[in-house]
């Protein structure tokens, strides 16, 4: 089990308070974060792998403080960004997956076998040696997800991973996330995606204003936005 604890977290940028006192303990396997533009969802997501550290308060992932143990935290927490182009680092598909495994101690041959197996599992086998920029948006996001998953993180945080995708690819990425053994924190504007989640947080003005099961949280959010 993975436990994320946010303890009285404030995040300030210049003199704007982006998160104002968030206290949470997340242990559920599927947690969704919804809320209006600019409400602070991405900031909340980035806190979980230490890309953002709190101005005050603390964030612990399995007891590790993101401020001091950022590296170890990032090894546990995989992060999927909205724009896959931003997170694909290597020029070709197989090389990008291999980059994630560069510290795995595998030999060159083992690495090749492993990468091929992962690409196969994620339906990208035919594209192994293609330049990443020739993939479709959906395939790029699947590649980004593959490159995150090969490092076997315990928690996957995804910040609007389907926003740039069409309906079919949205389904593909959402299904992939839903089927993971790992814990998932999903930030999304697509309210259909959160139905099967264990817990939904509604963020508004830098605070978590609703924290409930989807059947209660989603209608509450709709009423807030009405």
């Amino acid at each position: 089990m993975t436990e994320v604890v946010l303890d009285a977290v404030h995040v300030r940028h210049d003199d704007r308070e982006v998160l104002r006192g968030v206290t949470l303990r997340l242990t559920e396997r599927r947690v969704a974060v919804i809320g209006a533009n600019g409400s602070g969802k991405s900031t909340l997501a980035r806190l979980l792998n230490g890309l953002v550290v709190p101005t005050s308060g603390r964030v612990l992932v399995d007891g590790l403080d993101t401020r001091r143990r950022g590296r170890e935290v990032r090894r546990r927490v995989g992060f999927v960004f909205t724009d896959p182009d931003a997170q694909i680092i290597m020029p070709t598909v197989a090389e990008d997956v291999a980059y994630s495994l560069r510290r795995s101690g595998l030999s060159k041959a083992e690495l090749g076998t492993r990468v091929a197996a992962e690409l196969h599992r994620h339906g990208l086998a035919d594209h192994a040696d293609h330049p990443a920029h020739l993939l479709s948006g959906g395939q790029k996001q699947l590649l980004a997800l593959t490159s995150v998953l090969v490092t076997a993180p315990r928690l996957v945080v995804a910040d609007e991973p389907t926003t740039l995708l069409d309906l079919r690819n949205t389904r593909a990425v959402a299904d992939r996330l839903a089927g993971l053994d790992q814990h998932v924190v999903l930030v999304t504007h697509d309210l259909d995606l959160v139905a099967g989640y264990d817990r939904v947080l509604v963020v508004d003005g830098g605070r978590v204003v609703v924290d409930d099961v989807p059947a209660a949280a989603v209608p509450a959010y709709r009423r807030m936005m009405a």
Binding site: R75, F81, D85, A86, Q87, I89, M90, P91, R103, P131
Partner: protein, 190 residues
């Protein structure tokens, strides 16, 4: 797989360096013609057609006429033709290396070559990573340039240089930021 594909990345890089030096020595139209023939032959050996060749030199299509114009005016038509041929041949050869070698092999070769520089403080792995990022960034930024150009057109500002440059620079910086974040998320600081 052609013999060129099978050749080691290091060998090809050294070969490319040798060919560039040889190209520098090309001064006569006859030698320039030989260089072109050589490049065409190498593409043929690699099993690559004219389309692959064109895709490699295509980025030069605006650049070359400018260079030719300047050289024609300053050095005369013959020198302009020879110098431009050299340039295009060199780009075509570099393109041939990238077409026949996986980037990861090139990077590994480079990392190996830079290894001895480790003693004077050069981090070979980082240098190779920077190169990979550069290769990766070309299509991403080209894409961005296309988007910016279309947006400019859609708003009827076809010839406004600022309407092109400002969003392009801002967009590139934003992408650089996002890339930095992605590198951190993927454990660059391990």
């Amino acid at each position: 797989m052609s013999p060129l594909h099978r050749l080691g990345a290091g060998t090809k890089l050294i070969g490319l360096a040798a060919c560039s030096l040889a190209l520098l020595a090309v001064r006569s139209p006859a030698a320039a013609g030989a260089a072109v023939a050589g490049v065409l032959a190498l593409y043929a050996v690699a099993g690559l057609g004219p389309r692959a060749l064109w895709s490699q030199v295509r980025p030069l299509r605006w650049f070359v006429p400018c260079v030719v114009a300047v050289q024609w005016a300053t050095l005369g038509p013959l020198a302009a033709a020879v110098l431009t041929t050299r340039l295009v041949a060199l780009v075509a050869l570099a393109g041939l290396v990238t077409l026949t070698t996986p980037t990861s092999h090139l990077l590994a070769a480079l990392e190996g070559a830079l290894g001895p520089l480790g003693r004077v403080g050069v981090d070979a792995e980082r240098a190779a990573l920077v190169l990979a990022l550069a290769v990766r960034s070309v299509p991403v930024l080209a894409d961005l340039a296309g988007t910016v150009r279309d947006a400019r057109r859609a708003r009827g500002r076809e010839h406004d240089v600022r309407a092109f440059a400002v969003p392009l620079v801002v967009g590139s910086l934003r992408r650089a930021d996002a890339l930095g974040e992605a590198l951190r998320a993927r454990g660059l600081d391990d």
